[in-house]
């Protein structure tokens, strides 16, 4: 056979190899997609979670590997290529016979005739037409891939009631609802305190929680989202911390309580300065300012500098400069205070998000029957303890502030969480809760609560009495009108500050 004929034969063989490789890749991807659909079907019952991206990515990767491996390993012989051409071009086994003759395997009187006919036939062979690679692509691959997409669009996240998958789904919903409710409070509080970053993040988390509740989503996806969200909130917190550190320089970050104290003191100085009319009073203010500057170790440098300026202005008798310096110090402090509050709110937010993610991620088998029932009925579960802690731990009695829940507790009568109703217990005031719980049915039963008020916790005072301004009583009244202090405690708070004021006098 001529060189051209050989070339045509080799070209056909090469295309056959590609065709086989494509077919193999199709089979592999078919298997991948079929497996994906099987997993999707299983997810109706079991909490099997394989993200769609994994299925598509895995199938594509396997198909690509098969394609390359097939091209290298599934190379047909020249004889097979000749046979294919014989069949597809209607050559009636002319090429295979000719190849047999050319290789000395067939002896015939008609040797030359067969070879000539075969060569002539090969010159008119179009390997691309004979071995179409594109048509080898199995349409079932597209059908299965489309089926997988449609499945996810139409049935994605659907679970059969009473199955482990359904329980997982309900857990995600319940946790999302719980997170949303908590974040709403954090958001409201942040907005009230004009903590813009915290409010913004709270809004974002709230939207994410709502999306988690409403969307059909797998456990893994939910956990991933919450992780990303927690990272985002943590980033915002770090940004706030960075700003605060910028203000403080090398100084240690003061506690929020300390910042509040400083702020309160400055407010008092301003107030006293405005009402001071005699030199003696001014001298007393100057001394107090000096005391504050020298005796307060954690005072930020910018504040210290402003106080120094105020003191010098006071000595000079420059009223305007005193006011300006004190005002500046107060503004700086308020800014720091806001940043500290923001950090705190963001930290709480991040913690909530992380805790929700951990609760969702915790394997179902680690939950108690009560928790499972809570999940199904929509009640929030306990805060997540390390796996096995409950089983390993001994029976622990309820601690103050630890609101244990029983079955059928919730947001409505007979259902839901006490924490949802009352919020977290404050740290500064001991609260004793007495509960009278009636076992009800979901949406039905009855829950009565009684709250006993108590005195503040006996701890070290966080404010130095000498720093408590004289006018704190009036200010506390104003503050109490502005701040959200529960009505029963208002009198207690007012009396506390008045007592401090009296001591100072």
């Amino acid at each position: 056979m001529s060189t051209q004929a050989h070339h045509a034969l080799h070209q056909t063989r090469s295309r056959m190899a590609w065709q086989r490789a494509v077919r193999l890749a199709c089979v592999v991807s078919l298997g991948g997609f079929a497996w994906g659909i099987a997993l999707r079907a299983a997810s109706l019952v079991l909490p099997v979670e394989v993200p769609l991206g994994w299925v598509f990515g895995g199938s594509a990767l396997a198909a690509l590997s098969s394609l390359l491996a097939g091209r290298l390993l599934l190379v047909p012989s020249l004889y097979q290529a000749a046979h294919l051409l014989d069949r597809t071009c209607g050559l009636e086994d002319r090429l295979t016979t000719a190849l047999g003759i050319a290789l000395g395997r067939v002896r015939s009187r008609f040797r030359d005739q067969v070879l000539e006919e075969a060569t002539r036939a090969l010159l008119h062979v179009d390997a691309r037409r004979v071995v179409p690679i594109r048509r080898t692509l199995d349409p079932r691959v597209l059908v299965l891939a489309g089926g997988l997409l449609v499945w996810d669009l139409v049935l994605g996240g659907t679970t059969l009631p009473g199955t482990p998958a359904h329980r997982t789904r309900e857990l995600i919903r319940a946790e999302s609802r719980r997170l949303e409710q908590r974040v709403v409070r954090i958001g409201q509080s942040s907005r009230a305190q004009r903590l813009l970053r915290a409010a913004e993040q709270a809004e974002r988390v709230q939207q994410a929680a709502r999306a988690l509740r409403q969307e059909r989503i797998t456990r893994q996806e939910a956990v991933e989202r919450l992780r990303a969200l927690a990272r985002q909130v943590e980033d915002a917190r770090r940004a706030a911390e960075g700003l605060l550190r910028e203000e403080l320089g090398t100084f240690r970050l003061p506690s929020r309580a300390a910042l509040e104290q400083h702020s309160l003191a400055l407010r008092e100085f301003l107030s006293r300065w405005q009402s001071a009319s005699t030199p003696q009073e001014r001298e007393r203010i100057r001394e107090a300012l000096q005391d504050l500057e020298s005796q307060t170790p954690g005072l930020p440098p910018s504040i210290r500098s402003s106080l120094r300026r105020a003191r010098e202005a006071l000595r000079r008798g420059d009223r305007a400069s005193v006011l300006q310096a004190l005002g500046q110090a107060r503004e700086d402090l308020q800014g720091m205070q806001r940043l500290a509050s923001e950090m705190e709110a963001l930290q709480t937010l991040a913690r909530e998000v992380e805790a929700t993610g951990q609760r969702i991620q915790a394997p179902t088998e680690n939950r108690t029957a009560v928790e499972e029932r809570d999940i199904v009925t929509g009640a929030a579960p306990f805060p997540v303890a390390p796996a096995g802690a409950k089983r390993a731990g001994k029976k622990e009695g309820p601690r103050p502030g630890d609101l244990t829940e029983g079955p059928n507790e919730g947001l409505r009568a007979g259902q839901g969480s006490l924490r949802e109703k009352l919020g977290e217990p404050t740290e500064r005031l001991g609260i004793e809760l007495r509960r009278e719980r009636l076992p009800g049915i979901p949406g039905g039963g009855k829950l009565t609560l009684a709250e006993a008020q108590g005195a503040g916790l006996r701890t070290q005072p966080q404010a130095i009495p000498t720093h408590v301004p004289l006018l704190v009583g009036r200010r506390s009244d104003e503050a109490m009108a502005r701040e959200r202090i529960p009505a029963p405690y208002r009198d207690l708070v007012r009396r506390y500050f008045l007592e401090l004021g009296r001591r100072r006098e």
Binding site: T96, R107, S108, F110
Partner: protein, 332 residues
């Protein structure tokens, strides 16, 4: 002889036979294929469908010496092959002289071969296979070309002796002569009941037939087609891993290697009649049924259910790949 000459002569032979034979084109083709391949043919059909006429016409067209043996239960082997007779010469001396029987011809019509006893039937064995007859220790070669065309009636089985497997195997093809369709019947009536009876003219002679037979052997066969034929024959064996479900269920013994030879030679003739110097897979498939249908032996279940061997062979054809997936041509 060249291929185009073969093709030309074949067409002329076909045409001459067609003057006498109405319809049965495929049957005529297969008879000629067997003759040019050097094989014998067993024709099976009800009486009056033209079996004998076909054989006579073929003999005339091929210009071969023709003899007809009507097989009957009382027919003796000597009636076929001939015998030594006591002859007195002009000097009054008596000696035995061999008197050739009707088998000493070039085209022998063994009519209703299954009516003779197996002993008589077996008399044809040597003649068919060895192309020679041995009488009283003396072997007498038969004139080439030599063809036996036997007929048998598949309906009247009373008082018949079915051919033993060994003898069946000697037949190159077993052909079924179907009942003519209405159009062919009309044509037959027109041709045979009128005043003018058409006659076939001789086209070739013995030497030409032998040359044509020799040319058949020159046809090239691709290696994978040899394998295909072998696989087909192997697949008729119930114990073979290649056998299909029908073979496993209904066949006791599969085809002998003679079956494979018949397929390949028949395919070669087919190739030549198509003007090709090489065999195609289609040539092979076209002769599998006539070459193997009498070579597979049905088991009791197959016989009881009246399974047609053609059905089994079609199944074999359907399940046997032309080229094995891993088949390749090893280096010479």
């Amino acid at each position: 002889m060249e291929i185009h000459e073969f093709q030309h002569l074949y067409r002329r032979i076909r045409s001459e036979i067609g003057k006498v034979m109405v319809g049965h084109e495929e049957l005529v083709d297969l008879v000629l294929v067997a003759l040019f391949a050097g094989g014998h043919v067993l024709l099976e059909g009800v009486p009056g469908v033209g079996k004998t006429l076909l054989v006579k016409t073929v003999a005339r067209v091929l210009n071969l010496r023709f003899s007809r043996i009507q097989f009957t239960p009382d027919l003796m082997p000597a009636d076929i092959v001939g015998t030594n007779v006591l002859v007195t010469d002009e000097h009054g001396r008596r000696h035995f002289t061999f008197q050739p029987g009707p088998v000493f011809s070039q085209l022998v019509l063994a009519d209703e071969i299954n009516r003779a006893t197996p002993k008589t039937q077996s008399a044809l064995l040597e003649a068919m296979q060895e192309l020679a007859v041995t009488v009283s220790g003396v072997s007498y070669p038969l004139e080439r070309p030599f063809f036996v065309l036997a007929t048998q009636n598949p309906i009247e089985m009373e008082g018949t002796y079915p051919l033993p497997e060994a003898q069946l195997d000697r037949f190159f093809f077993k052909l079924r002569v179907p009942y003519p369709d209405v159009a062919s019947l009309v044509e037959i009536l027109d041709r045979t009941t009128g005043a003018f009876l058409s006659e076939a003219e001789p086209v070739v002679d013995s030497a030409t037939v032998l040359a044509m037979q020799a040319l058949v052997r020159e046809v090239a066969v691709a290696p994978h087609l040899l394998g295909y034929v072998a696989r087909l024959v192997e697949a008729t064996h119930p114990t073979s891993p290649r056998s299909c479900a029908l073979v496993s269920r209904f066949v006791r013994y599969g085809s002998s290697p003679r079956g494979a030879q018949a397929i390949l030679l028949g395919a070669k003739v087919r190739a030549l009649t198509a003007g090709r110097a090489h065999v195609s897979a289609e040539d092979i498939r076209s002769v599998v049924l006539p070459a193997l249908r009498h070579r597979i032996l049905l088991n009791f279940e197959g016989e009881a259910e009246g399974v047609d061997p053609d059905r089994i062979l079609r199944d074999v054809l359907a399940h046997t790949p032309e080229l094995e997936p891993a088949e390749s041509l090893p280096a010479p």
